[in-house]
């Protein structure tokens, strides 16, 4: 199963309803996004670090948490800038971030609530800083697009590994999932 990041991005943007106005709002507050990014990284990794399993993963190697925090700051800022107006480069980068999460072992069960913390805290900070509701909505939407990439990366990588090891076709795999789920 090979995901086309750009195609997936378009689908998510359409489903989540990230509008041109949302993009404008995000881009116009990109500096503010960069300013609050380190604080949001603190919330994100403080939340993940509360879990013993996650804490072990985050601190597995020397400097990993530091590198992850730096990546988080870039990632958070990019949600505001949209890099190439949320085009191919943005989609490719989101896909790569998703793959890194899979490789490190930070699964959706950890990322989803951690992302909810970020959305909540960013919303609170926006209110404190006198930003309007549209910014909070737009930020929540783009966070959901990015979250979808991370979740999809898990599915894609798991599926690809099963297909590689079993020789099953994608069609057969989907049928097995469907019939198996029906039987549960």
């Amino acid at each position: 199963m090979s995901l086309e990041p750009n195609e997936f991005m378009s689908k998510m943007v359409s489903r989540i309803g990230l509008t041109a106005d949302d993009r404008k709002v995000l881009q116009s507050t990109a500096d503010w996004g960069l300013e609050i990014a380190p604080e949001m990284a603190d919330y994100f990794y403080e939340y993940l670090g509360r879990d013993a399993e996650m804490s072990a993963i985050l601190n597995e190697s020397e400097g990993r948490i530091h590198r992850l925090r730096e990546t988080f700051v870039d990632w958070f800022h990019e949600m505001f800038t949209g890099m190439d107006n949320w085009g191919d480069a943005y989609a490719e980068r989101r896909w790569r971030i998703g793959l890194i999460h899979v490789r490190i072992g930070i699964g959706p069960q950890h990322v989803v609530p951690a992302m909810a913390v970020v959305v909540h805290e960013a919303g609170k900070r926006a209110q404190t800083d006198g930003k309007n509701d549209q910014l909070r909505d737009a930020l929540a939407k783009i966070c959901m697009v990015d979250l979808a990439f991370i979740e999809q990366a898990y599915i894609e990588v798991s599926s690809a590994a099963v297909l590689k090891e079993t020789g099953w076709s994608e069609g057969l795999f989907r049928r097995l999932v469907k019939t198996g789920a029906t039987a549960m």
């Binding site: 090891e165 099953w168 076709s169 069609g171 049928r175 097995l176 469907k178 019939t179 029906t182 039987a183």
Partner: protein, 123 residues
């Protein structure tokens, strides 16, 4: 030429009813879609098809990875009977369910005979 599911079904029904200790049979695509089936009541045709294709494909993979060569059949022996999966050309998988009392030599001969009939329809 279109594949006649009616002919496939007739072959399967004839095979199931005329062969001693055969309980069911199905022909499915390598993607796990049912082409024709004559299965015992209560068995979900869609599920059986997906499982059959998965099993044969996995067997092929094992044959290749573990240097066992091309796979002729997958033979599942349970305390209540047998499940035998045989490749039916490139486009189909043949599943046979047999009772524990079935004579294996006879079973294999009947499967071989039926396979050639099925292949003729699938060509």
């Amino acid at each position: 030429m279109a594949i006649s599911t009616e002919k496939l079904t007739n072959i399967l029904q004839s095979f199931v009813t005329s062969t001693t200790d055969i309980q069911g049979a199905a022909v499915v695509t390598p993607d796990g879609l049912p082409l024709a089936a004559s299965l015992p009541g209560g068995m979900d045709e869609e599920r059986v098809s997906a499982m059959s294709a998965a099993m044969l494909s996995l067997g092929d993979r094992i044959g290749s990875e573990l240097a066992r060569g091309g796979i002729d059949r997958i033979f599942v022996e349970g305390d209540k009977g047998y499940g035998i999966l045989t490749s039916c050309g490139e486009d189909a998988v043949f599943l046979v369910l047999a009772d524990k009392a079935a004579k294996q030599g006879l079973l294999m001969l009947e499967i071989k005979r039926t396979l050639s009939e099925l292949k003729a329809v699938l060509m």
